[in-house]
Every structure is written in structure tokens, then in C-alpha cells.
């Protein structure tokens, strides 16, 4: 090991391996998701169809699950592990435990993936064409739910790992403020623990037993509501690592410092307390939930704009500070002084810009009674390709160009390709998302293999549906090219030799540091309690009323399609997997993963 180099892998070689494994898992999911993405884009726009329309929903389930469950969350656990160890400047308590949760997540998502992909072939009697929302009475194969459970339990253990490491640090540094990156990790995880209770209840109490045939029926509105209890905050689970990057990496790559540490803490606290009691805004048009509950969710949602607006300020202010450090001048002239040739910077800046656009379409979605116009139309798909599909995904790809050398010890393969990649993503998404938004306003539905109907046509006031389709297809192709460039860089870097000239492992300093932040901000117990109270306030009555109306197990209806699987076979499978997970998690991880990665 060279003395002069001080990359992450040099300080934390063991953790760097886990982070690397998490990144590679994440990228694998991104690659798969991307392939499915372009297939469905070309299919629904009727540009090129080579699958059966009934298989479209298998493709869409895979696209959704691989991208928003595995791609995002594997990346998150990677950078959260980096953030904890770097900012506390200490190793995780027990690296075997770290490999344990990583393996559990990997096994879980593999099972879920197998259940989904088996839907492509009739020779295996298994499918889970239920999309990532798995609304009952649509029923997936039990393996689909089992995999999800293991994956989520893996994330719980990951959180435990980070908390443990922080507690150990706190013993030794009783009087110090929680370092900002650690603070962000911990608040995000607290939010996640609360949020995942919803999906855990939905899957463990209802959907899994039901798919195994242990209970006959479920209440579709109840499981759906529990899903959105989790489904909205998961949005912030994707977004928080991106925000973290905007707070602690973007100022640094801009050449300056973070504008305000206290405000950053306020933002994360607001996300902790407001993320969950808003989920009902996905159910504005659901019968069976009183208007008053929807109104409460609406106001909470609007207040949830606050932390994002504050973030916009801090991000721009920090960039400006950086630009001025680099000699930038004038009202807008400083923009020219920013490091636009740096893919890490440009990727994040473009991601932030797109997020601002997404803010506008998001306000329309959030506007309870305006929502009628856009609910479940293609507009929504346009919206979240700006949020998770760009603000998050593009930020992740951009910071990869910084992280990859840090965790591999190898120089980035090609910076120009990287720059081209982030710009291409931005262009592709501009075309695709804009046309999706416009299509949605015409009433074109989402999640539909053939939005071309026999009895009527959608009427465009400007342009035509054919023109929208062409833009969507063009956007999709540019995005796919962008992904190809991204993987060229990932693979090229992995094949590179060791580099002696890597930048140091560090993150942004602050202009106004933690000493300016009131101590109460670090009182995680307090914020957790407030968060729980708000959740109880927002959800107790809706849930009770849903159960009161429809019963805990709902009306008498058949699952769809009926699962043909027999229980004994599943019990066996379940047993096998648990053994694999528990007994050999350690060796499994060490042997296979390290082997593969090296």
C-alpha cells in the first residue's frame, strides 16, 4: 500500500469490499432494469414489439422492482456504509455482521427476481406479474413475498449495523456532535424503520399467508393502504442518499463548502417526521377512505415540500460559494466558473435541475382535487422518472465516478465518456419525461401494454399522439445509450490496474458548522417520538375505519390468478432458504462474492 495514497479502500479495506459488492449488485439491477425499460418503451409506443402484450406486465414488474428496490437500495447501503465509517472515522463493529445483512439482501432480491422472471416461461409454474405495488387480489408466487421480506430484513440489520457503530463511537466521544453524514444516515434509517412497518404488516400478516393458502381472503383496501404507508416514504429512502450527496459531495466538487450544517440537519429531521403520514396522497381516488383523511395527507404532503425547498437553497448557495472560490463573479456569471467538465459535478447539477422540474409536476400530483386529472396516467410515470429516475439515478451514477476509484483503488476508466454519459441521460430524460407528462394530460394511462384502443383515440391539442410516442422512444434510446456508456466505465475501471494517484477520501466542510446547530437537533429520540405520534395521528383512524368497513380479511373474493403451488413444497423451499441464509451467510458472501468481484 502506498503511503501517499489516502483513498477509502486504504483506510477501510474490509468495508470497501462490502461497499463494492453493494455497488455491483446495484449496477446489475440497473442493467437488468434498463433492458426491461427499453423493451417496454418500444412496446407501448408501438415502435417495436417482439414480446406478447401479456408478457409486458412481467417486464414492467421486473423494471419496477429491479430499479426501485434493488438498484436504489443497494446503492444506498453502499454509500451509507461509506458515510458512517468515513465520518465517524472508525470501522464497523463486526464485518461479518455487515456481510450477513448484505447477503440477506442479495438472497432476498434473488428469490423475488426468480419469482418475477419465471413469469416469462410456462414451463415453470411460477409467476409474480403483480408490479412493484402488488395490490391484492392480484397474487404473486409466495417466493416473491418471501424474497421481499428477506431483503427488507437485510436493510433493518444494515441499520442496526450503523447504529451500533455510532453507539460505539459515542462511548468514546460523548460530547461531540453527531457528524453530519452519520446524522443523515441515522435519521433516514429511523424513518425507514417506521415506514417498513406498513409493508411488513401487509406482507407478513396478509399477503404471504394468503399466497400460501393459509388464509382465504384479504381486504384489498387494507393491504393497499398498508403498502402506501410504506410506499410514500420509500420515495424518501431513495432520495435521502441523493440529498446526502448534494449536501456533502456537491459543495466539495464545486470547489467550496456546505453553506449550512444546521439547516441540513433540520431538513433531515423534517423528512423523518413528515415522510410517513403522507402516504394516503397516493389514494386520493380510492373509495372507502374519507375525504378528511385525504385532506390531512394533503396538508402534510405540502409541508413536506419545505425540506426540499430548503435543500434547493442550500445546494445553489453552496455551488455559488464554490464558484466564487474558483474566481467566479457577477449575478449569474459565477455559473461559468463551475467545473462543468467534471462528470461528478455536472451529473449532480443536472440531476438537481431535473428535480426542480419534478417539483412542479409533483405539486400537481399532491393537489388533492387536481389529482383527478393525472392520477394513474402517463403523467405520473413522467414525474417519477424525473425524481427517482433522474434526481436519484443520475446522482448515483455521477457520484459513482468518484466512489468507484475510492472502493476499488483504481482510476476511473474514462472521464470524457462519463461526462457524455450524464449529459446523455439528461437529454434522454428530457424527451421521454416531457412527452410522458403531455400524454398523461390526454388521459393516456400508465402500466398499459397497448394504450391504443379500438373504440376511441386520445386527442392531442398540440402535436399528436404519434409525435409523443416518437419522443418517448427517442428518449428511451438515448437513456439506453447512456447506460451503455455507464457500464463501459464501470467495467473499464474494474479492469484497470491499481492507481497511485487517487484523491483523498473526504467530504465537504461547512461554512456554518454543527456548533451553530441547536443541540436539540441531535436528539434522535425526540424526533422519533414526534414522527411516531404524527403517524398515529394520520393513520389510526383511516386504518380502523377500513377494517371496520371491509373487515380484517375483506370480502369473499378469489385471488387472481389463483396460485397453484402447494404448501408442503413451499415449506420445504422456505426451510432450505432460511438455512442457507442463516447458516452460511458468512461463507457464502466471502466465498462467492469476493471471488466474483475479484
Amino acid at each position: 500500500m502506498s503511503e501517499s495514497r489516502n483513498a477509502y479502500i486504504d483506510a477501510f479495506p474490509a468495508e470497501a469490499k462490502v461497499v463494492r459488492a453493494a455497488f455491483y449488485s446495484s449496477f446489475l439491477a440497473l442493467a437488468l432494469g434498463g433492458v426491461f425499460g427499453i423493451i417496454q418503451t418500444l412496446h407501448r409506443t408501438d415502435v417495436f414489439r417482439f414480446i406478447d402484450s401479456t408478457d409486458y406486465y412481467t417486464v414492467l414488474t421486473a423494471h419496477g422492482v429491479f430499479l426501485v428496490i434493488s438498484f436504489t437500495i443497494f446503492f444506498l447501503v453502499g454509500i451509507f456504509t461509506w458515510a458512517i465509517t468515513t465520518s465517524l472515522d472508525r470501522s464497523v463493529k463486526d464485518i461479518r455482521f455487515t456481510w450477513g445483512w448484505y447477503s440477506l439482501m442479495a438472497i432476498g432480491i434473488t428469490l423475488t427476481g426468480v419469482a418475477i422472471l419465471a413469469g416469462f416461461t410456462d414451463s415453470i409454474d411460477m409467476s409474480a406479474d403483480v408490479l412493484f405495488t402488488f395490490y391484492a387480489p392480484l397474487q404473486g408466487h409466495p417466493l416473491f413475498y418471501i424474497g421481499l421480506v428477506l431483503f427488507i430484513v437485510g436493510t433493518w440489520l444494515a441499520g442496526a449495523d450503523w447504529f451500533r457503530t455510532w453507539w460505539a463511537w459515542k462511548q468514546e466521544n460523548p460530547d461531540e456532535r453527531i457528524p453530519l453524514p452519520t446524522f443523515m444516515v441515522l435519521t433516514t434509517m429511523l424513518m425507514w424503520y417506521i415506514a417498513t412497518l406498513g409493508v411488513a404488516a401487509s406482507v407478513l400478516l396478509f399477503l404471504l399467508p394468503w399466497s400460501l393458502g393459509l388464509i382465504e381472503t384479504v381486504n384489498p383496501l387494507l393491504t393497499r393502504t398498508l403498502f402506501w404507508f410504506f410506499g410514500h416514504p420509500i420515495v424518501y429512502f431513495w432520495l435521502m442518499p441523493a440529498y446526502m450527496m448534494w449536501y456533502i459531495m456537491l459543495p466539495k466538487v464545486s470547489g467550496g463548502k456546505l453553506f449550512s450544517d444546521p439547516l441540513a440537519r433540520v431538513v433531515f429531521v423534517l423528512f423523518l417526521i413528515l415522510s410517513v403520514p403522507t402516504g394516503i396522497h397516493h389514494q386520493y381516488l380510492d373509495p372507502g377512505i374519507a375525504e378528511g383523511f385525504k385532506f390531512i395527507a394533503m396538508t402534510n404532503t405540502m409541508f413536506l415540500l419545505l425540506p426540499s425547498l430548503l435543500t434547493a437553497f442550500t445546494v445553489v448557495a453552496s455551488m455559488e460559494h464554490g464558484a466564487r472560490q474558483r474566481g467566479g463573479e457577477g449575478y449569474f456569471g459565477w455559473l461559468k466558473a463551475l467545473p462543468w467538465r467534471d462528470p461528478v459535478f455536472t451529473g449532480m447539477a443536472l440531476a438537481g435541475l431535473m428535480f426542480a422540474a419534478a417539483g412542479f409536476s409533483g405539486m400537481i400530483n399532491a393537489g388533492m382535487n387536481i389529482n383527478y386529472l393525472v392520477h394513474n396516467t402517463f403523467w405520473v410515470v413522467g414525474h417519477f422518472h424525473l425524481t427517482v429516475g433522474t434526481a436519484v439515478a443520475l446522482t448515483f451514477m455521477a457520484v459513482t465516478y468518484w466512489f468507484l476509484p475510492q472502493v476499488t483503488g483504481k482510476a476511473l476508466w474514462n472521464r470524457s465518456v462519463a461526462l457524455g454519459q450524464v449529459v446523455l441521460w439528461f437529454l434522454g430524460m428530457t424527451f421521454m419525461s416531457n412527452a410522458m407528462h403531455r400524454g398523461g394530460l390526454l388521459g393516456i394511462p400508465r402500466r398499459t401494454a397497448e394504450p391504443q384502443y379500438d373504440g376511441f383515440e386520445f386527442e392531442a391539442s398540440v402535436g399528436s399522439v404519434a409525435e409523443l410516442d416518437a419522443q418517448i422512444a427517442l428518449g428511451g434510446i438515448l437513456l439506453t445509450l447512456s447506460l451503455v456508456l455507464f457500464f463501459a466505465n464501470v467495467i473499464g475501471t474494474a479492469l484497470n490496474g491499481r492507481s497511485d494517484t487517487l484523491p483523498d477520501n473526504s467530504y465537504a466542510e461547512t461554512l456554518s458548522g454543527p456548533e451553530d446547530a441547536p443541540k436539540v437537533l441531535d436528539n434522535l429520540k425526540l424526533w422519533t417520538i414526534i414522527a411516531i405520534i404524527l403517524v398515529i395521528f394520520a393513520y389510526t383512524f383511516p386504518l380502523l375505519s377500513i377494517i371496520d368497513r371491509g373487515g380484517l380479511f375483506g370480502p369473499d373474493i378469489n385471488p387472481f390468478p389463483v396460485s397453484i403451488e402447494t404448501i408442503p413444497m413451499l415449506a420445504m423451499a422456505l426451510e432450505g432458504y432460511t438455512t442457507a441464509a442463516v447458516a452460511s451467510a458468512g461463507e457464502f458472501a466471502q466465498a462467492t462474492l469476493l471471488g466474483v468481484i475479484r
Binding site: 439547516l263 371491509g550 369473499d556 387472481f560
Partner: protein, 267 residues
Amino acid sequence: MNIHTYEKLWLIAAMVLIVGFIATITYGSVALGITMVGDQEDTIEPRELSEDDRFGEPRVEQVGENEYEAYVVARTFMFQPDPIEIPENSEVTFYVTARDVIHSFSVAGTNINTMAIPGEIATMTAEFDEPGEYGIVCNEYCGSGHHNMEGELHVLPEDEFDLTELSVEADDEVALEDDDEVTLEIAVENGQLEDLETTIEAEIGDETFTEDVTVEGDSTYETTVSVDAADLGEGDHDWSVTVDDYEESGTVTVVDQLEDDGGDDDE
């Protein structure tokens, strides 16, 4: 806490924006009366829809001078009734439920959009001032045929709209030996609230009948026409009944004697 002046201004602007949004939405709800799909209706057993008063026979019903109610069932992979027909200048309340899985009922390009959840009934009221045709789509994924799930909503000019229903019951076979008659039992249902002035025209073989009738609002007028089987003679005879644009027709066979006596009352 040390907050920069610009930051304070931004914070205030952000709060104003948020409160402004909430106020806008509240204005929409309270002043403009845009209500949300809610929990106004009781739950319903999806298995028992066919016995239900409203959903057993999905249809449009008139409930006030220009007020209508539409009972709609969404099921894999269709809407009932299809098309939904309503007159212009009307206010229509839709009651939508699902029979099997979650669907949606969304009239393309309009604000009429709701989830259809098994066990729950969604209600929405909308006004239709102009005649026109709309597509209805299901925008909630409901299974492998989801993309085939479509329907139509026709807003008809007032003079083309009615809720008249004509039904006729007639025998298939009539025997000469019993001195039987060929009988058409005619029912004209007027689903609208105003009286319906119309003419019933019936034809059996070469015989014709005409009757001017007034069917009262929300009621059914019943009448019978008959001809002696002997007058028609052995063989097949066509019959038809027309009321406005509606027509029912069929064939009756006059035979010498019936083969089995139970089959007397076939439809």
C-alpha cells in the same frame, strides 16, 4: 441557530408558497365543490353483485329532472354497461364498483377518474353540457388483459336520448289442435321521469296492430296482441314489434300437435 438573511427570506417564501397551495386546494374543495371520492357508500359483497339492486343490472337511471345515476361494474376486462349513454345538459352521478380485482374507471381527458375496488363503491358527480363521445379506460393494472379493458361514454343530444326498453315474450311453437293463439306479451319500460308518448306497432305474419300509448314516467306499460293459430296456418311465421327505434322480432311455428306438453311456455 445562525441563519443567513437570504436563507430566512427563502424560508418565509417557501412557507408562503406552501400555505398558498393548501389554500388553493381548500378553495377548490369548499368554494368550487370539487369533492373527493370518499367513504359515502357502504361496502358491498363483490360475490353478490348480481343480486344487488343497483349493480345486478348495471345501467343508467333518471333520478331528477336533469339528474341521472349510472351504476357501473368494472371487471376483468370490461366495463358494464358499455356504452354508457346519457343526455346532454345532465348531471350524472357514477357509482362504480369492481367485481374481481382493483380496476379504475377513467374517462379519458376529463376529471372523471376513480379507483374501483372490490367491496367498495366509488361515487362521483359530473355535468355534461355538450353531446360528445368519450373513451373510458382502466388505468389500474388488473391482469394480463388490462390493455383490452375499455368502454365508451356517449353524451347524446336530448332528442336522441331515452331510457325506453322494449321486451317481448312469445311462444316458439303453437299447436293447432288446442285451438291455440299466437300471443306477444309486450312490455314498454320508460326509465325517464316524464311520460313517454309513443306508438307500439306489432306484426304477426300478415296481421298488423297499432296502438298509441302514453307510458308514465318510471313505469312499464304492458299489452298483449294475439292471433288465432288457425288463421296463420301451419308453418313458420315471423313477428316483430317496434316502439320508436326499438325493435324485437322472432319466429313462431304453428304445428299440428305439440311433441311434449311441457315446452308450452318457452321464451
